[in-house]
Symmetry: C2
Subunit: 440 residues, 2 copies
């Protein structure tokens, strides 16, 4: 006689450190999705997972169960090989806006469903929304058609993509169970698996402006995601990249889109360009478009130089009903009423440009959300002018604030100033990348 | 600027192993009581407490906060000194039914609100309910009036006594967070503090038929409760007693009441009598009615011998509208249709009379509840005829089943038989008590 599964017994088994079976995980996630298992049981279970962790097998089962809780997009009839890219979130991270048109221009179709920003970390969908008229709520049919026709789609995440993850994430957010590596890894990977990608490049950010503040926990997260991908039969590359200072210079929405457009015009900040080329290399190689990094880089650099990468973004914006004039003339993007450049209060080497504090200063201005559902101001943001290691002269521009409110501007100025730390000693620049992990 | 408290931050502080402040605990329990803090946050918090534990200070604050979540009964205008007795629950534990009339007969007023049984462990209220007509839902006013007039009240727990505990307990039951010493200790003690007792004797059961199966965890629970009592300004004595075999012989409701009446008539099983005298000694000494155990025991033995203890129970039943004829003639108590005595299958010494299995066999018959709210059958139960260490002859009566259903009887017979383990070697009897802890 087989005994019926009960949620409370599954909680107790996890609480006591046992490995849950695929049946138990499937039962729990199906119950949560349908509403048969109440939130309080899911919350207790998540806290037990926080303390006890999960084996690689459990994480994979959880990821698959969450992916299967909604629509599983099949792109095999749409593109020869579907690649995707995911960042764990950071400050000034506009890489998706550059790298995806770039890779698409090199002949590798990319369709991506992105999230919104939360806290100090921005979201691709919010940045794209600075483009008047753009439609970021495509149906699966529209998504597939555009991916086939143009080879590039960037849209918001469908509510039916891994709904169990949506439910569990919302619950974790209010129950102190966000910071659990198995839960983070399965949350990210469930959406990637449901999204239909056959190969995925994960940009795992490390530093004060990231979810994972130290290399050890970021490595553990990357390993967890790579392991899930491998067990689920996908190719995965995880890149660990620095997030102790903003990526590029701009932090906000329209200001970041403008910087991304600069990069697509073969310009923009050197660190942003290098970061995008590196991620692009992995994507082209995974897709079989290039055999070596060198080959891949040559293709990518050509697509930046000949304008085809920018043209690919323009095509996408047009297909998604966005006002393409802002692509041709970024001056038409939303602008803030108050623009103030703050001078360096002293001379010296920059020892720190604290990414988290710069991100929070941008949230203070209205560029981000303190909590889910808050409205955001697309025009506002902060543009830093220096990187860690730079030698700065007193009186030189340190950062520029774009604001729509004098009081908020003052608060952001204080915070952004405090985020810059000077020293008299020479300081080494921060690395862009720490390491790369591969599923095979 | 003081920062507003948020439930999620309190969960995270506990998750990370910090000691919560009285303000944080007060905020959490008030929020839970009012419904401002949802069940899923309370569940995550309870699981964090399960893993991190609580300091003595936190446990006391939690206990006081839960006690204050409802009515705080003040008995100072009713009796000179209010004592109470609590058992953590066991199989065949009818001590309250004997010891409270006994102590009251010795001039120490006792008013007690009791719980119902759950799982293998029975509840005093259920046992009393075998008496036709008895009212076990007294108002606070009725409770105080009867306590003043008769010096004895036994009633069910008012819904307004520590409602936060009621809510939290129901949640813990379904989220795998029952087995947490700080949560068990604060749950018990919150009801005792709200009930107005100035001194409390805790009967902490240890063994397979108890909540705490080993002496170490039972000692930890007893220490936690004694510490809470001391910090809350109450006198507390905790007695650790054996619960590896049923206490007395009878397990059920009417059958246990009958055995309690035997004890009040100066008879009944020796272990039950000794247990009640020991608990009674502590109560008389705490109340200042006796200075030494010897003095106390003399008073108690006299009250059993002269019938005054039985008379006290009769008075109470009459005051609470119960049919007093069952006190005078226990044959009038509810009776089962089927009574079967099972013979010992072999000769030998009894190595085990597994309390939990006997308790579960009684539940199988309908004497207890698998889950809260289930109806119970007052007439059914099991009467064991031997104790661990007894020498039993094959064919001698081993136990008697009182049932109302032939199929259930068969199931209970199997289980109760398997609960008896024989050996050819001489076996030491089990002790009644292991140790005593005192708050001062």
């Amino acid at each position: 006689m087989s005994r019926a599964l009960r949620a409370v017994d599954i909680i107790i088994r996890k609480r006591d450190g046992h490995e849950l079976t695929p049946d138990e995980i499937g039962f729990f996630i199906t119950g949560l999705t349908r509403g048969d298992i109440p939130d309080y049981q899911a919350a207790a279970w998540a806290m037990a997972v926080y303390f006890r962790g999960m084996t690689a097998r459990e994480m994979t089962e959880l990821t698959l169960a969450m992916a299967r809780s909604g629509e599983m997009i099949d792109l095999s009839d749409t593109v020869p090989f579907a690649v995707d890219k995911h960042s764990t979130g950071g400050v000034g991270d506009k890489v998706t806006l550059v790298v995806e048109p770039l890779v698409a221009a090199c002949g590798v179709p990319v369709g991506k469903m992105s999230g919104r920003g939360l806290g100090f970390s921005g979201g691709t969908v919010d940045k794209l929304e600075s483009i008047p008229g753009i439609n970021l709520s495509l149906s699966t049919e529209q998504f597939k058609r555009q991916l086939k026709e143009i080879g590039l789609v960037l849209t918001g995440q469908s509510a039916n993509l891994a709904p169990a993850d949506g439910k569990l994430y919302a619950l974790r957010d209010v129950t102190g169970t966000i910071q659990s590596i198995p839960l983070i890894a399965s949350s990210v990977m469930s959406k990637k698996l449901a999204g239909g990608a056959q190969a995925i490049v994960l940009d795992v950010k490390v530093g004060n402006g990231a979810f994972m503040e130290d290399l050890k926990s970021a490595t553990a997260l990357a390993q967890a995601m790579v392991s899930i991908g491998r067990k689920a039969g996908r190719k995965v590359v995880a890149v660990l990249s620095d997030m102790n200072q903003p990526l590029g210079y701009a932090v906000g929405n329209a200001v970041e889109l403008r910087e991304a457009l600069d990069a697509l015009r073969n310009g923009g900040p050197a660190d942003l360009r290098e970061h995008c080329l590196h991620i692009g290399e992995h994507l082209l190689r995974l897709a079989g478009r290039a055999r070596t990094s060198k080959q891949a880089r040559a293709l990518l650099e050509a697509a930046l130089a000949d304008g085809s990468a920018l043209m690919k973004l323009r095509q996408m914006v047009a297909a998604q009903s966005g006002d393409v004039r802002v692509i041709d003339d970024p001056e038409l993007l939303p602008k803030a009423a108050l623009v103030e450049t703050v001078a360096a209060p002293r001379s010296g080497y920059l020892a720190e440009v604290n990414a988290r504090e710069i991100g929070l200063a941008a949230v203070d201005l209205g560029a981000g959300r303190a909590k889910k559902g808050d409205p955001i101001d697309y025009a506002v943001g902060i543009i830093v002018h220096h990187k860690v290691g730079d030698r700065v002269q007193q009186g030189e521009p340190l950062f520029t604030i774009h604001a729509n409110d004098a009081e908020k501007l003052a608060a952001a100025r204080e915070r952004a100033l405090a985020a810059h730390r000077f020293t008299t000693q020479r300081v080494r620049p921060l690395p862009l990348f720490y390491k790369v992990l591969r599923s095979r």
